[in-house]
């Protein structure tokens, strides 16, 4: 209000009802406006690095205006373990035991991307036995289910729904039981190795996985009944953390978040590896660009994963991959130790020990050389990628011709996708920040490596 139009608090102006007295006027409007614009009521909140809803040690620095988020900054690095540096001091085969620990919810994907890169460097991509490739696909899809289950379970917990959490983790436990039976470990299995996989499926595995598929088909339906039309869940997820295709592309976001914008981009379809082009499955998409869309994409992907697992089981039990080696036949590369599950976990099989210690000196030398020194990989660099549960997981490997990676770098999807947090949360309510982070499903082990 300009000074000439100032309202006189003492009532020289005549209203129709008579004189009106109030306390407005003079230049108080400007004072009030100034007070409203002041920065003093902004609250800077550190959410994390230890916070139950940040999926690990993620630190969010939120600038709040009331309950509205003005600015989000993301701090990472609390789980940096130097995996890439460590891999430069181990052989090519030992590399799997390191990279499997990056994204600890998707260990098989870490191993597979690394092994695909090593195989590309060696030029043996086509020589990996079919049975090994089918087992890799089988393990990856079980892993995709277990990872998505954690994503949905922790998401439920963070929104306050303990039932979702308990059910999700319960079903994941069944998937981890399968891993334990096949690889000897529930997590961080180092099961996929350059040239194939560590060992063949144990007896009875096909039936057990078949039972798992049957059970999960029913349980996923139950989970969807619980969540799909739940009014509380819808209120917390619909139109929350909007990220459209332009935002996803600019920020390099891939995986379920990208597919929730309607783009059917899935490396399993567009750039197949491990024989994915021979499996029948659909790419799940939604066009809502919000948290609910990402949830639906994950649920659909789990159903598709079950379909792929069934096809794998067909091939492993009666199809083309019914029998055969699971490790490359080139003895200069294939791991010499035949592994077996013993009472104390997986180790060298007794037959193999008897062979190298009691029967063949040459076999012992070969074993010793390949295990301690490792194989040499021709100099050069490659980039190999797989569609992990969180998006494109790429592995950039450089070899100088030696027995160790000269440089190993992983393009982890969690790392890249986390950059979208400010775009997805600024301007929203603080409660929606939790939903936004959970819908991106970052795993800090993969982010910080």
């Amino acid at each position: 209000m300009s000074p000439t139009q100032q309202y006189d608090a003492y009532g020289t102006e005549e209203a129709t009802e008579g004189t009106v007295f109030n306390v407005a006027g003079q230049d108080w409007d400007e004072v009030v406006q100034g007070a409203q614009e002041s920065e003093d009521d902004r609250l800077v909140v550190n959410m994390g690095p230890q916070h139950p809803s940040t999926h690990g040690v993620l630190r969010l620095i939120l600038t709040l205006d009331g309950e509205t988020v003005d600015e989000t900054r993301v701090g990472i690095g609390y789980l940096h373990t130097g995996i890439e540096k460590n891999m430069e001091y181990r052989t090519w085969t030992q590399g799997t035991t390191f990279c499997t620990r990056m994204d600890y919810l998707a260990p098989i994907f870490n191993e597979t991307s690394y092994c695909l890169a090593v195989e590309k460097l060696l030029g043996i991509t086509d020589d990996v036995p079919e049975r090994a490739q089918v087992i890799r696909v089988l393990m990856m899809e079980i892993n995709r289910i277990s990872s998505h289950l954690v994503a949905i379970a922790t998401f439920g917990l963070e929104l306050g729904a303990t039932t979702v959490m308990l059910n999700g983790f319960l079903e994941r436990e069944y998937a981890l039981d399968l891993f334990e039976m096949i690889a000897g470990l529930r997590m961080n299995m180092a099961y996929v190795r350059p040239g194939g996989v560590a060992q063949d499926l144990p007896p009875g595995a096909i039936d057990k996985i078949g039972d798992f598929v049957k059970r999960e088909r029913y349980r996923f339906k139950q989970l969807r009944k619980l969540l799909d039309a739940n009014p509380v869940y819808l209120a917390r997820t619909k139109n929350i953390a909007y990220l459209d295709l332009a935002a996803c592309m600019a920020l390099g976001v891939t995986g379920p978040v990208l597919r929730s914008t309607g783009l059917p981009w899935d490396l399993r379809k567009s750039q197949p590896y491990c024989g994915y082009e021979t499996y029948d499955f659909e790419v799940a998409t939604q066009d809502t660009c919000d948290v609910y869309g990402r949830y639906l994409v994950r649920m659909q992907e789990m159903d598709e994963s079950l379909k792929i697992i069934e096809q794998c089981l067909d091939r492993l039990s009666s199809g083309s991959a019914k029998s055969g080696p699971v490790m490359i036949q080139d003895k200069k590369i294939g791991w010499p130790a035949q592994l077996a599950l013993g009472p104390d976990g997986m180790g060298n099989s007794p037959n193999h020990i008897a062979h190298i210690m009691g029967q063949s000196m040459e076999a012992l030398i070969h074993h010793f050389k390949l295990v301690t020194e490792g194989f040499r990989v021709p100099a050069g660099q490659v980039y190999a990628s797989v569609e992990s549960p969180r998006g494109e997981l790429g592995c950039h490997l450089v070899s100088d011709g030696g027995t160790r990676p000269y440089r190993a770098h992983f393009r982890d999807p969690s790392f890249t996708n986390l950059q979208a947090i400010p775009a997805a949360t600024e301007g929203s309510m603080i409660a929606d920040v939790i939903a936004a982070v959970a819908s991106i499903d970052p795993v800090m082990g993969g982010v910080d490596r």
Binding site: I76, G77, H80, G82, E84, K85, N86, E88, Y89, R90, K120, L121, L122, G123, I124, T125, D126, D127, M249, A250, L251, G252, V253, T254, L263, W265, S270, Q271, T372, E373, G374, P378, A379, G380, Q381, V382, Y383, S385, E392, G394, H396, V398, D400, G401, G402, T403, R404, Y406, R407, H409, R411, F415, T416, L418, Q419, D448
Partner: protein
Amino acid sequence: MSSQHPEQQAEQAADQLPAHGEEERAEQPIARHGMFGARTTGDTSGFGRLVVRQSPKVSAERPYGGPTTTGAEGEFDEIADALEAAYPDFGEAIERVVVDRGELTFVVRRTHLLGVVQTLRDDPRLRFELCLGVSGVHFPAETGAELHAVYPFLSITHNRRVRIEVTCPDTDPHVPSIVAVYPTNDWHERETYDMFGLVFDGHPALTRIMMPDDWMGHPQRKDYPLGGIPVEYRGATVPPPDERRSYV
């Protein structure tokens, strides 16, 4: 290994046969001394004084072929043609082209990096919408090009990949930032700066991302020690990983 294509076979041949391109090879920096990495303990192989040089830099000739085709025009030629047509300084900008293991790499001079990636993104025949980050590599022996920055690109429209590689000397570790063109590279460039000390000029806030802010040094450089302590186990002492015998 019959499935390899000629470029790769040529490179492997160069690795395995020192007689091939002897003079060219003799100019290369020394990669290692001795048959094995051991310098102190019993290397009885007799190869202790062997000098092994790095393999010469490969560069591909036309036709480049494609991920699966070799010896004929393919996808890689289309990419190169499109880039040549859309980027006027192509000849000056591209140091060499490498086709290896079914992948195409343009080694770009750093002054032209920003222009090349802008063209890669915007030209309809190229349309590399996704930049998959940047990975640093440290080659201490390559004088004048110790630090490499490697950018993988992906085109969703054409379903193709290409790689851009930029080098810079350790004494002047500056590479232009491409965050303005690809915002996704924000954190990737910070990580590469943190780990390798590559300075990305024009980055909005180039700070450390993994290591603490006051950390000294850049951990993934080759001259940075891995660290670790000797471990005693049943009377024997196992040295830390970077001090163990290596067979590099």
